[in-house]
């Protein structure tokens, strides 16, 4: 893999990773968007969207609440979208391998966010005297330092993950033995389990929610039957 091939993925992963919390939090970092953009970067947005949809179902339960630690889906989804959309996308088991890669990177990304927040505290402490004196420059400097560090975090994470996962996926797929239909069935059943579980956790106390869910499910199944 060349640096020229890796750089766009790393840069996109950085921008999308920045969106997760720091700027602009417009949810470009949701898997549906980030994986599609990752796929688009290697010329196949529809493949990226497919892996993004599976990851979005799993990510539904993630609430990016304040100090809690959660997976960083943005950079991970860019990597997974690009991985699946690259030539490995046509291989049996590639979708499962891309989702597994994304889950691992999202886990690692969550850890890097904790480290970033600790680093931000160190930077703020270093400027404590100026901040206590109301220095405008210190406030702007601490803010820009945090934003820059987050961008760098996303670039490094995405670049390293893609560099490792492309050869790892190719090696894995040469030993893959499950038929594609069974691989996909196991994957989507797992993603849907997490999604339905997430909906239960979020809305079981909302009045009428379970009946609305059942009504929607009935409508969805009717649409499927009518096709």
């Amino acid at each position: 893999m060349t640096v020229a091939g890796l750089l766009p993925i790393a840069l996109l992963g950085g921008v999308i990773g920045l969106d997760t919390v720091s700027f602009p939090q417009a949810m470009l970092s949701r898997p549906l968007v980030a994986a599609t953009l990752g796929g688009a970067l290697v010329g196949a947005p529809a493949q990226g969207l497919l892996v993004g949809a599976v990851l979005e179902l799993i990510a539904l339960e993630t609430l990016p609440v304040g100090a809690s630690r959660y997976p960083e889906w943005g950079s991970a989804s860019v990597v997974a979208g690009a991985l699946y959309a690259s030539d490995a996308g046509s291989a049996v088991g590639a979708l499962v391998a891309a989702v597994l890669g994304a889950l691992a990177v999202a886990w690692l990304g969550g850890w890097t966010m904790v480290k970033l927040r600790q680093h931000n505290a160190v930077v703020a402490r270093r400027h404590q005297a100026a901040l206590d004196a109301g220095s405008r420059g210190a406030v702007l400097g601490v803010q820009l330092s945090g934003l820059t560090a987050d961008l760098a975090r996303g670039v490094l994470l995405s670049g390293a993950a893609y560099a490792v996962l492309v050869p790892a996926e190719r090696a894995l797929l040469t030993h893959w033995s499950l038929p594609e239909q069974w691989s996909r069935a196991a994957l989507v059943a797992t993603a849907a389990s997490v999604a339905v579980g997430a909906m239960w956790k979020l809305f079981h106390s909302t009045p009428w929610a379970r009946w609305l869910f059942v009504g929607g499910l009935g409508a969805g199944l009717l649409v499927l039957a009518a096709r």
Binding site: I58, V142, V188
Partner: protein, 259 residues
């Protein structure tokens, strides 16, 4: 019963340029989020364009004292923090005492956090995702799915920021009245109901599209998904859903490779 803070006298809106600068900075309010002051520095960062309007400008003790005060610990939902930024700008420019501003600041944290988490993270975000997943399941192109999600989600996101900043500025330290608005009180339940309906519709459609032409094994997948969901809910205190997915997908990969 605690007496309500009276509404401050009407004051002209902030200059457009100042409001635009504050709004833009609100998108980066969590840029230096850390475990000690949380988004405190971000609040000072967002308020800075308004504080420049203090008599004498940026080189005065009043400006520096306000910047130092606003950079301390603060916690809120990042979008609803716009209410705090507007109200704190008004309080500083109205010349409220530091003690009153600090008490007011501390009192805002709880409500702005819990309401925002329920309305946005646990309501609007899943609803927007599910609407986009329904579009995906209906066969929409990648561009349509992405635009559906981003437009829907960010319509709510930007509206909250603009509304919060304006309401905070108009109501100043009486902004608690603004937090009693029906959108914030009843919104989470209404959005939650809509998201539950969208979930029922979107999940089977999205599954069918991922499974692909012929929908092989779709019935088995739906049954397995419902059984899996029961496990996820029952085990929620011990394992998060994404970790459950990581375990199961790892097992599938391992089985496929070693069998």
């Amino acid at each position: 019963m605690t007496p309500r803070t009276p509404m401050p006298p009407a004051r002209p809106p902030l200059p457009l340029r100042t409001r635009a600068a504050m709004l833009l900075r609100l998108f980066a309010i969590q840029g230096s989020w850390n475990y000690e002051t949380l988004m405190g520095n971000g609040i000072a960062f967002c308020l800075e364009p308004a504080l420049r309007m203090l008599p004498g400008g940026v080189h005065t003790p009043a400006f520096k004292a306000a910047m130092a005060r606003q950079g301390r610990y603060f916690n809120a939902h990042p979008y609803l923090a716009a209410f705090a930024v507007g109200a704190l700008a008004r309080a500083e420019l109205d010349g409220e005492t530091p003690e009153r501003i600090e008490r007011f600041r501390a009192a805002l944290c709880g409500p702005l956090g819990s309401v925002g988490d329920r309305l946005v993270w646990a309501g609007w975000l899943p609803l927007s995702s599910l609407a986009a997943l329904a579009a995906f399941g209906a066969g929409a192109s990648a561009l349509v799915v992405v635009i559906t999600f981003l437009l829907l989600y960010n319509a709510g996101h930007v509206a909250l920021l603009v509304w919060g900043l304006g309401t905070g500025w108009r109501q100043g330290m009486a902004v608690a009245a603004g937090l009693g608005h029906p959108v914030l009180r009843q919104g989470p339940a209404i959005v939650g109901g809509a998201a539950a309906l969208a979930a029922g519709l979107a999940i089977p459609l999205a599954l069918a599209r991922v499974v692909g032409a012929g929908r092989v094994l779709l019935g088995e997948i739906l049954v397995a998904a419902l059984l899996g969901a029961v496990i996820v809910v029952k085990a929620q205190a011990r394992i998060e859903g994404w970790r459950f997915a990581l375990l199961v997908v790892s097992a599938v990969v391992l089985y496929s490779v070693i069998r």
